[in-house]
Amino acid sequence: MAVETRDDRARPSLWNDPNGRAVIYQILLIALVLGVAWYLVSNTLANLERQQIASGFGFLDRESGFQISESLVPYAASDTYGRAFVVGLLNTFKVAVIGIVIATVLGTVIGIARLSSNWLVAKLASSYVEVLRNIPLLLQLFFWYGAITVSLPHPRDALNPVDGVFLSNRGFKVPLPEPHIGFTLLAVGLVAGLVGAWAVGRWAEARRNRTGQPFPSLGVGAGLIVGLPILGWLVGGAPTALDMPELGRFRFTGGMTLTPEFAALLFGLSTYTASFIAEIVRSGILAVNWGQSEAGLSLGLSRGTVLRLIVLPQALRVIVPPTTSQYLNLTKNSSLAVAIGYPDLVHVGNTTLNQTGQAIEAISIFMAVYLSISLAISYVMNRYNERIALVER
């Protein structure tokens, strides 16, 4: 009798054991989710089969047959659908990366300007924010695209502010240096300058922390960034040959082009996102207690130094997480390119979808790509956030 009771207490039935019940619920839930997913997939496959609609990713190896207007890698209509997707993906990256940089700089400047004691500057900044963030982005894109194609002249009457630079409704044309060892060295010098400036900055900060001696790292860094490329160019023989754009029968040949589609998308995305980032920056700065600035000022630091060394490092902790969301938004919003004809991933993918009829495959590629890009941005921004977070002792 006693033995039986102890056994009962040690092992209640699985259903009456809270842990056991939890496990049962979890298993039930997983089974349900898997069941629904399996149902959807098998149903879709059965329907595709019955209507004899092609499925699978085999189409990626077939010749695409359509042209893409701008591409970072060589692409022709005789290339495959797979390569067309890569071209679209790189175009998405291009606009997202440049857009994020511009939006961040512009947003920070406007956010700080909105707090300015200068009435005009503050009001201009707040009108910028209120106007841009309250108009749907798609309309803004149409506006900028229309503004470029309608208001700029035809290539034959192109605006020509500087020799070799042309502005027309076909885009912005600038000369490109002819391939030469001097220009290669110039690029190498630029990279070396950037790395050097960063290294000097770190060294100067370490020295200041150690000895308290300030070092003009800004000036030295700028000197490196400007000086090394010039040095490289001079060592390479100081070439001056440029590939100048020339007007053909229809268009400019040679040089480098910024197309109206890219320009409108980049401009629309970055100004729109900047209006949100400006508000985030403003909230971040306001979140730092005024006492912090007062303390800095009473130590005799200049206003700029107070902003740079005291306010911004603390504000960043408030700024970074919501800014990450804005970066994600900008990247995802770049798919609105479809509307104005910039060949981003979705634009190219939609064409592929339509030529091959394989909607499910194309849409899954879109989703996988945007998910990967977004997770990658989140990961990087989260790491950065950890680095600047308050170090608790």
Partner: protein
């Protein structure tokens, strides 16, 4: 136990609840039950399918839908028009959102097979052309090396364009915009030197959208074959037959001289072919699963093929297209109806 029950339930659900968009015979039943035909048309291509100022759809493609609706339901107005872009159209048809797609769609091998579609005939033989501003002074498409071309994505046009420039070793920049209105706007704003689509589409755009139609010329080269016609889904042969034979009936009616006006007189005709078509001699309607007055109703709703053509795109309209290859075979064209017997 529970899991096994769940799997069993899931299997039962999958077995019984499989949702299939209209298949074998279901399109016809669905149309009858609904009391209307759902027809996918262009978002606004004057002459083929465009809504007027009161939202009433008109055009050649629209009339084909009305004829099909009249043949099935006896009422040419029992059609619901759903506008679709070039990119959405096939997905809408595949998913069962529309019963028939009548949207200046080119008949190609891939679409007929891998996309799971069936073409029910040709209602307009078209070909791809180029339109340029007259001030450019271009007289032939072969002078277009280096030009910027406006084109809509997801069309055969986009592929023919790349083929044509490749074949003639010319270069071009493409401006590819999905929305028909936006691509028109881009061309007329001067973003492109050339606008390319089907020659009938160019005529339509020039007649209705150009600020001054005389400022734009359509080049003589026709670079492709674009047979346009109504499309239905794979797997519903009965419905395919109906749409196919309605198209034939419209052509046959023109050949036999049956018009909207003389339709009732024609019921008295002694020509056996006319009697079979109009249901005086019974049997054709039954074979299609329709009433015997199917062809009569279709012609009563929209007239014969020649009347449809003249009313929407013919010489008297803004588009001003000649019959050309779209004339009857008896007059040297390609319009040829299979015998209704």
């Amino acid at each position: 136990m529970t899991i096994r029950m769940l799997i069993a339930a899931g299997a039962a659900l999958a077995a019984t609840g499989t949702v299939v968009p209209a298949l074998a015979g279901e399109s016809l039943d669905a149309v009858r039950e609904r009391g209307s035909l759902i027809c996918g048309v262009n978002t606004g291509l004057s002459g083929f399918s465009a809504p007027d100022s009161e939202g009433v759809w008109a055009g050649l493609d629209v009339d084909v839908c009305k004829a099909v609706a009249a043949a099935i339901l006896g009422d040419g107005e029992a059609v619901e028009f759903i506008p679709s872009t070039a990119q959405q159209r096939f997905t809408m048809l595949q998913s069962g959102e529309i019963d028939v797609l009548s949207r200046n769609t080119t008949w190609t091998l891939t679409r007929d097979t891998a996309l799971g579609l069936n073409f029910a005939g040709v209602t307009f033989y078209d070909g791809q052309g180029f339109m340029v501003p007259a001030e450019l002074g271009v007289t032939s498409a072969l002078e277009l090396d280096g030009a910027t071309v406006c084109v809509q994505p997801g069309t055969t046009t986009e592929l023919n364009l790349a083929d044509y420039f490749r074949a003639n070793e010319m270069e071009f920049d493409a401006v590819v915009i999905e929305s028909f209105e936006e691509v028109n706007a881009a061309y007329f704003a001067g973003r492109c030197d050339v606008y390319t689509t089907d020659a009938s589409g160019l005529a339509s755009v020039r007649a209705t959208t150009a600020p001054n139609p005389a400022d734009h010329v359509i080049l003589p080269e026709i670079i492709s074959k674009e047979p346009l016609g109504p499309v239905v889904r794979h797997g519903d042969d009965e419905f395919l037959d109906i749409v196919k034979w309605v198209v034939f009936a419209l052509i046959e009616a023109e050949e036999k001289g049956i018009t909207q006006a003389n339709l009732d007189e024609m019921l008295e005709s002694t020509d056996p072919a006319v009697q079979r078509l109009l249901g005086v001699t019974e049997g054709m309607g039954e074979a299609l699963g329709l009433s015997e007055s199917w062809a009569y109703d279709a012609i009563a709703a929209v007239g014969n093929y020649g009347e449809i053509f003249d009313r929407n795109v013919g010489p008297e309209t803004a588009l001003g297209l000649e019959r050309g290859v779209n004339d009857l075979w008896t007059r040297g064209g390609l319009m040829y109806a299979m015998p209704a017997r």
